[in-house]
Amino acid sequence: MRIDCKHVWQHISAYIDGEVDEALRAEIDRHLETCEICSAVLDSTRNVVVLVADERVFELPAGFSQRLHARLDRDLELAESS
């Protein structure tokens, strides 16, 4: 069974996560060997996933942690006595 571009795309997310079964992965790999478009689409999707996962993209506001722990210092004591 040969799969077409549309089917490769449908499974692209699972493929990136290594969650497709062996048979399907082999089919997708075979398709990618000769399909420039799907290869480029896969590479770009994977690249996007890697980039958004970088912790520099989403950073906590400055002082967030200090403020949180200061609040805990205050309120945990109150919580105890209530």
Binding site: I37, S44, V48, L51, L72
Partner: protein
């Protein structure tokens, strides 16, 4: 922070419940990022999200004795965070019916990718350029909420499918569908615009050192 350590957590919880209150700081610290960003995703406002994150931490503390260990600690914490966020939205009257989530999952929409014939990898080093971070943030923030939440927990906070499903109160199937759609929308939005951040191959051939580590 490092990945969760269930034994450390279980030990921490036991000792906190026995009276070593100060250990709660160490217990909650690895969860801070996830709590804040999930709430930011729901509330869309930094001040509100921070406020809600603090309230969440307090609620976690007060309910610590109820943690059963059925899921990972962070998952349980994020369920509390999610409920905190949803509660605030309901109070503000801005929460849409939850049934909309299910409807959106069933809708067929356009999740086709941006078609390319080649792709040059954009390295993480490119994030030193502030505009790339801004571009990525804007793309994520522009996603529909149900897709944004999933990409946040799966791709940004690197939680697995099961834990993401429990934290968001949805099925594992829904996690997978929504993640696929989130990634599809991001690729379509970003791929045409990321090309400018990829290293220039002609410079590589001339031995330009800009993108190479020393």
């Amino acid at each position: 922070m490092t990945a969760s350590n269930p034994e450390f957590e279980a030990d921490c919880i036991r000792r906190i419940l026995a009276g070593e209150r100060h250990l709660f700081h160490d217990l909650i610290r690895p969860c801070e990022r996830s709590i804040y960003f999930l709430l930011m995703s729901l509330l869309r406002n930094e001040t509100e999200a921070e406020d809600a994150a603090q309230d969440t931490a307090i609620k976690v503390y007060l309910n610590l004795k109820n943690f059963r260990g059925d899921s990972q600690f962070r998952t349980w914490v994020l369920s509390i965070a999610r409920n905190e966020g949803l509660g605030r939205l309901r109070k503000a009257g801005t929460r849409r019916e939850d049934s909309l989530d299910a409807e959106t999952d069933e809708q067929t929409g356009d999740y086709t990718p941006a078609i390319l014939t080649s792709w040059r990898e954009v390295p993480s080093e490119a994030l030193e350029r502030e505009e790339l971070g801004a571009l990525l943030r804007k793309a994520i923030e522009g996603l529909p909420e149900i897709y944004r939440n999933v990409v946040l927990l799966r791709d940004i906070e690197e939680m697995d499918v099961r834990e993401t499903a429990v934290a968001l109160g949805i099925s594992e199937g829904a996690v997978k569908v929504r993640l696929h759609r989130a990634r599809a929308l991001l690729q379509r939005d970003l791929a045409p615009r990321l090309e400018g951040f990829a290293p220039d191959r002609s410079k590589e051939r001339k031995g330009f050192m800009g993108w190479f580590k020393a």
